[in-house]
Subunit: 285 residues, 6 copies
Amino acid sequence: MAQPQRLAGYTGYQHFAITSPAAFVAHVEINRPDKLNAFFEAMWLELRRVFQQLSSDADVRAVVLSGAGDRAFTAGLDVKAASEGGVLSAEGADGARRAAKLRRYIAEFQDCISAVEKCEKPVICVMHGISIGLAIDVSTCADIRVCSKDAVFAVKEVDIGLAADIGTLARLPKVVGSSSWVKDVCLTARNFDAAEALSVGFVSQVHESKAAALAAAFKTATFIASKSPVAVQGTKELLNHSRDHTVDDSLRYTGVWNAAALQTSDVPAALLSGMQKRKPTFEKL
Amino acid sequence: MAQPQRLAGYTGYQHFAITSPAAFVAHVEINRPDKLNAFFEAMWLELRRVFQQLSSDADVRAVVLSGAGDRAFTAGLDVKAASEGGVLSAEGADGARRAAKLRRYIAEFQDCISAVEKCEKPVICVMHGISIGLAIDVSTCADIRVCSKDAVFAVKEVDIGLAADIGTLARLPKVVGSSSWVKDVCLTARNFDAAEALSVGFVSQVHESKAAALAAAFKTATFIASKSPVAVQGTKELLNHSRDHTVDDSLRYTGVWNAAALQTSDVPAALLSGMQKRKPTFEKL
Amino acid sequence: MAQPQRLAGYTGYQHFAITSPAAFVAHVEINRPDKLNAFFEAMWLELRRVFQQLSSDADVRAVVLSGAGDRAFTAGLDVKAASEGGVLSAEGADGARRAAKLRRYIAEFQDCISAVEKCEKPVICVMHGISIGLAIDVSTCADIRVCSKDAVFAVKEVDIGLAADIGTLARLPKVVGSSSWVKDVCLTARNFDAAEALSVGFVSQVHESKAAALAAAFKTATFIASKSPVAVQGTKELLNHSRDHTVDDSLRYTGVWNAAALQTSDVPAALLSGMQKRKPTFEKL
Amino acid sequence: MAQPQRLAGYTGYQHFAITSPAAFVAHVEINRPDKLNAFFEAMWLELRRVFQQLSSDADVRAVVLSGAGDRAFTAGLDVKAASEGGVLSAEGADGARRAAKLRRYIAEFQDCISAVEKCEKPVICVMHGISIGLAIDVSTCADIRVCSKDAVFAVKEVDIGLAADIGTLARLPKVVGSSSWVKDVCLTARNFDAAEALSVGFVSQVHESKAAALAAAFKTATFIASKSPVAVQGTKELLNHSRDHTVDDSLRYTGVWNAAALQTSDVPAALLSGMQKRKPTFEKL
Amino acid sequence: MAQPQRLAGYTGYQHFAITSPAAFVAHVEINRPDKLNAFFEAMWLELRRVFQQLSSDADVRAVVLSGAGDRAFTAGLDVKAASEGGVLSAEGADGARRAAKLRRYIAEFQDCISAVEKCEKPVICVMHGISIGLAIDVSTCADIRVCSKDAVFAVKEVDIGLAADIGTLARLPKVVGSSSWVKDVCLTARNFDAAEALSVGFVSQVHESKAAALAAAFKTATFIASKSPVAVQGTKELLNHSRDHTVDDSLRYTGVWNAAALQTSDVPAALLSGMQKRKPTFEKL
Amino acid sequence: MAQPQRLAGYTGYQHFAITSPAAFVAHVEINRPDKLNAFFEAMWLELRRVFQQLSSDADVRAVVLSGAGDRAFTAGLDVKAASEGGVLSAEGADGARRAAKLRRYIAEFQDCISAVEKCEKPVICVMHGISIGLAIDVSTCADIRVCSKDAVFAVKEVDIGLAADIGTLARLPKVVGSSSWVKDVCLTARNFDAAEALSVGFVSQVHESKAAALAAAFKTATFIASKSPVAVQGTKELLNHSRDHTVDDSLRYTGVWNAAALQTSDVPAALLSGMQKRKPTFEKL
């Protein structure tokens, strides 16, 4: 793979490297490899800004998220930093006041991670090596998860005395089908590997190496980016809506959504290029 | 298999062939094989009428839905007809008025397809060959999905510039367990085959040929039709309710439902025939 | 395995044997092996009392539930007893009054079985041999399901003329991912074996024998019981909440929950023992 | 008031008189005054057809619903007819089969009455004289309720041995603010008069006579019909959505709705005519 | 009023006096007048038992709840007792463990008070004099609220440093219509009198004295008790369901409920006695 | 009233004047009186920042929101500015792309106004003079609404060709009790005055003049600010939660909330000062 291009307009980020491996595709790398890409507060605040910018950037139609270095997608929360800062310790005059601080802190932290889910563009998460704790929270916000064979996963929070509160327990049961398996890995904090992740549907592809996984993700992202952005982004929005609503509610919302979305030139463009066996070009969105 | 009997009372349908392969079993065939069973507006309006009739027909206790011909369950929307008619083009004085037309059009279209789900009798969908686009919308309304080895599936809508709006995006996430896989196939519009469909749980059986799949479906339908219709139709209703409600809500609804349903002679009939090792007969419902 | 100890404070139960195979672990055995552990009314009333006691017992941090004897986890409802008692027959002056009796009866029965789910401690259900009817209702209330190779499962209710109303139809669609499979087994009442149960995710482990399955369950239970009970019980609660709520609602609830839960000495205890490579001790909860 | 014009295209209705008292305004009269406008099955089936036609008729922008004659808006269900027909008596082989018939019958009946709510155009219900039983079900489907001083209301169903099942118990708690009052009138079946109806907010205006109430309703309807139909029909839809959803859900739905609705020429037309102090003209919708 | 009769079967209660002022009517008096009927733990545990018994007692069709003595319906929580016991103080090794105790304590307390709402029979709450704090929690569980002129109400909890957690904040917004008023009284803990309570719909009647209010409540209860219990109890259940569900969900639930309830002899009994102008007699329920 | 003090730390705001009329009370004035306090985009972006700052400012315990000048609380959207900017006109290559822009624009606008509701401190809105359009959206986010006699209200949006989309249609039905009145004012865009606003419960107090209304609001705000902030802010949160959830859900959430909140020194402080008849002092929150 050639040296990827820096993506225009994404300067001033310190903890994430943002490049463009193909037209309309952004690649976001968690960029703290010497610390196994472990997160501290400034990082998740920056993560939110990155994905908010991607969400409304008309030059981006698909996003790949991965971790820099050979050893880890991310080892999760930097526990040392967290012990010193807010998330694992709150001061306050009494239990209620400590709780208020913690509640605000957690809400802000959750909001940062949820930015990956709220990004209007599809996000493909590529996981390799150590992928524990916050790695699961972040990846369950992505649309598609793939990994390399060496990936080791764990919902690790129980091992440091807490229930995962940044999204894993809210989203994982809706990401994979077997509730028995979800409870097993969440209650025991045990490791599971790529093969197990594939068999339960947590990831949808396993590749030989991080490089192979990244290449596959870029290929899928490029493929998605070649499609009508009206169709793709509508599909993401409607699938996310569906997760949290009844079928009747989703059908009603879908009808209202498509009443505007069908007023697009992408449909005739796609139909025409389909007949002419050539690649359509779509306006920016 | 002998020539199936026409089902009494199902005349006047043009696009669907309705026969009875066994007592209390109806077989509905999409009957436009020369056009790969592609749908145009008159067809989905008729589909609704067919399933509304089946729903309240006391002589039917299970339904098999399949496509005529060797090549396709259905190739989905007849895009040529749709471009000329309403679904992909709406006229109106301005964007809001075009939206109102589209919204009504989509709501009517959704309602026709949902008739398969609302049918009070279990519906087994048998898919073979080309099974794309609307094929997925229709089949996710069925209770059980089986297919032949040659089936090729795709959530195809993104490829014509639109988000699927007739049910796939509302129902597919509740039909299979892996959200990563659902997003993959919905965002890429890529093909997937029978083996993949089985492994993610989209279908629950794969057979060597369409004939074998149909035979298996008839066998299951006949088996279901031999059971108490009070029990079977209650089970379908309660499972559909459960999908869209909390466990507490479902338990409450179930209690109210069975307070009437248990006042049936089917329970003593089933118990007695169980003890006597003979097949029970149940009153019509 | 040595003779297990009776668990202190659990006397006066007739239909369940309650022992302690390891510190902080309780083992509940359905104890009517000569009748295939089939349930009658006094048993489910007792089941509720057992699990209510376990729920608030600070000496218990994980529970294993299994069936005594070689032949069955449980053959479900004792149909003979039920025909004579309330659940399958209600007297009353008219249909409405019979319905009122049945509704109250079902609500009470549901509430007894739901006690397994409401127990604040993780419950691992070990199934072997005949595991049909009520076996499914009970086991879907557990957090983790494992079984031995000889297990035979069936959602059997349709075969006695009724829709399952004690929890299976409300919970099973949320326990496994494939709706096609759920409808198949619920509508046909057919048997399925351990391998099929594993492949759809109904159980998460299959073992060679009941003894091996029990040993594995004890090991997992002991492992869970070694973790912070604040973390483990919070994880169970938050996963159960997530099943029935939107992601946004779950995130909000999680934040409020952890605002108190993080004010625990378990976090520093876990972190310190992690650094010191020794096993932490946690206060009772 | 001059003789109202028959509304074009509304022929073939037997139980309702449909006229047009002003441009874009339809007046639907329940037309069985010699029987106090009491309903039998053919009437509610026709009511649905009437309101479905009004819903998509671009020449109608507001609807007034009232009862013919001096004595009653409607005395509700024609109990004599009902006793002979389906709603109060169902035949069937056992209690479960009778329940299935009743359930279908009630669902169909509910669907007919709900057509008033689903009508895309605002409906103003004018009530006078006897307005009991089904009168409440129907009127709670309307958007605005006004009455004359002589109106006598009652949620009468308890007095004939049943709980109201065609909509009153589902909608009345969402139509008025005081739950104590709602339970009072629903549990006692007592009469309440126009003044009480106004004070609790069940109606929003009381007039001296039926004629005065009708005149006021026509004035309001004409006023509404002079506004942008995109704005008015959107407002009705969004208020109905709001009743059954959280604020967050409604805000999301509203944003999607208006993303299309704002692409209307009605906004510039309304703004321009506002500046020019003249009455705008809006395209049909 | 003559000396009321003790209600058969209600012995062994210490804190509540249970009598029968009329056939099928129960009167429950909070019976600690020397302490302004203030509640301590044993009282709410007993309150639950009382209402559970009433709920399934076929000889009771309506319930009146009031406070003994001249001065107070209830002054709410006995703060002195509460400070010494559990609700306002929890011991535990750390904040998380104290929270767990408090959570269980609150859940149990809530469950006791909710027994008034869950009682299948209509409950009329008669309030007089001091009616603050827990008085509001309890009364919002009743179906109908009436009071005497001297009643003084307050959502008092804020004044002792806590948010009301036994039901007021969950139910009051659904009991009265004006959210501005609800927030006013809940945030300020200010008193409001009978006239204000009536004008916002918190109570539906105000009477000159406690005796007059009780007499009116007995009259209404007796009137309700003369109606079909199938109709009355169904109406209560469906109104309670409606509060927490969408209209569509309520219509569906209603249809299933009435499918059994209409199979009652009360409908023909009510119709016949209506024609014959005599009082019907209904079977016990 | 003496010259109010500027509130420390609230510099750099251009469109809002923020002062402190009493300890722990903030007063936010919409400060564009020469344009009737009409809003343009920079103003609602600033409104969000103001309320986000107030939300987490431990020196603020209650907020009063009003409009500067004699003539208007706010005349709503500055239509002239809006026509030139985004909200009433969106450019884009086709209808779908225009819709995407509008959707993002509306979502951002909604989020700014919702900041008033999300502010953790109680907000009292004082309305006078012209209070139309956006005035209703903003005020329905406040907790308590009061007004002066000269206030004139209107849900004005229909008159400019659009359905209100910034919150009125989502919140107003949950703010007042009479759905007939809500639909009346929303569908007709007619004016209503202070007396009508009071009678339907939209406001909870009417005062002779703006000055009197402000004085009353300051008094209430000061009163609230003298209470335990743990109790007051918990009460606001739980009432907001209740609006959008079932009673069961709210009770569960309340229990978890108070499990931390009761670990406050405010309860003993409030109890002690109550006994000693002196004013308690509470720690900052």
